[in-house]
Symmetry: C2
Subunit: 299 residues, 2 copies
């Protein structure tokens, strides 16, 4: 999927994060079925892009990845809860996710809702319980505040509601509306990952601002490629049927701009992301590779 | 509902908490429908027992209530989210709550799920953003850790799953199983309220332990009265139909022990709660009144 150094880095991240998540959930004192349902979705073979972003940002500041393990796992728990709830019959009503039956198909709707609630709630525990000599109480509160902003009403959840409202309009959205949805629905949480790494690395304010720009463009590029894959992707690589956006009359970059212009838009956002990254004056080799990977990924 | 000093104190608490919750949600930058749905359930006329417990505990230590406004509102947001999710068709499938249509009946299931997620997520923001000269970053992290423990897998959510599993057994639970469910499903969050007040008041460890005992007994008493009200209560005062436990063959204190012994058990837990409270050596007049109110409430 990703070449060279990044491919190894993704494997390194997956190993670290999956061991920690497994350990954290297994050690919770809770009904077995709840933990099983949480772990089912947590270990369903995600790309771990968000943890990779946390680690790669720390790496760009010359810091050890271990510093970000709590934030990386917390954000992955939040991402996973959002997928479980999005898949529910009253939301997207999806039966498959990453080639496997969705959580409610296996455990029923009630447990799926509660497993989502639990992943969300306990993610904040993982974030604040995580101990490291370089993490101060003040930093923890900063991380927590940013994670809530990224995942709550002003971030992911707000974006999800705006997306649903967009679908109910039964007409094409404008580019501005579409971008606004993606900036909130997926962009803010991706942005948190970079910000978390930067906060933990004691980045300067001007660097935080530039890395925020980097994340915004990366997030939009990620979403455009998502839209493209729903048309040009392989069902086998994606682990889910393609063509669902077209079928559901969803506004996407290709439906709004045409495929050629959508690909140009993708290239534009990657270019802008790289420019912000260079200005931030960090050793951003891995973050650069992530940009290129996001633009070319097949799943 | 409650007499004398407590009645006034409940009104005082309601006013403070409702103003703050309204202000907090209104100021969020999010789609209007999401905020409307959150506020619909937040302002649906709850008893505000949890905020009253936070304030009364501070009062017992001679501290100003304002110190606990963040914790009181955060816990009320979590309590409200849990009611929205519990009422969903795949959970309890309730149409009425406090005499009003449930959230999903008004806004649909998808928005109800997301409003619940948002109340949960943003409750942690309210808790950590709340500024007061006597609240240190370390205290905030302590409060956050306790709130997650009380509401997550090891608390409320774990209890909810255990409750569902109990119902699926189609046979009476043992008293131990029943108590274990209630200690988690409702007890831990009530316990958080007292603990939050005590943490903010810089209580000693021995006082925290005794107040924890107090909360446990208070929580069980609260639940027994809940069970009794489902048989002997008035639909008008409760704002929902009575008899649903019997109809659903649910194990309750009266079904397990008989009504007379259930009332004795209620009296026993109130007595134990008061004993722990007296040992904690605080000015617990209001907390005492809450005990008596819980035992005698009609809604």
């Amino acid at each position: 999927m990703a070449g060279g150094q990044l491919s190894e880095y993704i494997t390194f991240t997956k190993d670290k994060v999956e061991v920690k998540l497994q350990e954290f959930v297994s050690n919770l004192s809770a009904p077995a079925i709840l933990k099983e349902s949480m772990l089912y979705s947590l270990t369903a073979g995600g790309k771990r892009l968000r943890p990779v972003l946390v680690f790669a940002t720390l790496n760009a500041f010359g810091k050890k990845e271990d510093l970000g393990l709590g934030a990386a796992c917390a954000v992955e728990m939040i991402h996973t809860y959002s997928l479980i709830h999005d898949d529910l019959p009253s939301m997207d009503n999806d039966d498959l996710r990453r080639g496997k039956p969705t959580n409610h198909k296996v455990y029923g709707e009630a447990i799926a809702i509660l497993a989502g609630d639990a992943l969300l709630t306990n993610s904040f525990q993982l974030l604040t319980d995580f101990e490291h000599e370089d993490i101060t109480p003040h930093m923890k509160i900063q991380l927590l505040t940013e994670l809530v902003k990224a995942s709550g009403t002003e971030g992911m959840i707000g974006g999800q509601v705006a997306d649903m409202q967009g679908e109910q309009k039964h007409q094409q959205l404008t580019l501005k509306e579409l971008e606004n949805i993606h900036l909130h629905k997926t962009g803010k949480l991706l942005g948190f990952c970079v910000k978390a790494g930067a906060i933990l690395a004691n980045a300067s304010n001007w660097q935080l601002t530039l890395l925020d720009e980097f994340s915004k463009h990366l997030g939009l590029a990620f979403q455009i490629q998502d839209d493209i894959l729903d048309i040009e992707g392989s069902e086998e690589a994606l682990g889910k049927p393609i063509g669902s956006d077209t079928e559901n009359d969803k506004t996407t970059y290709p439906s709004l701009l045409g495929m050629k212009a959508a690909k140009e838009k993708l290239a534009y956002h990657i270019e802008q992301a790289l420019e912000s990254l260079h200005k931030a004056n960090v050793q951003g080799g891995l973050l650069e590779e992530i940009c290129l990977y996001v633009a070319k990924r097949d799943r």
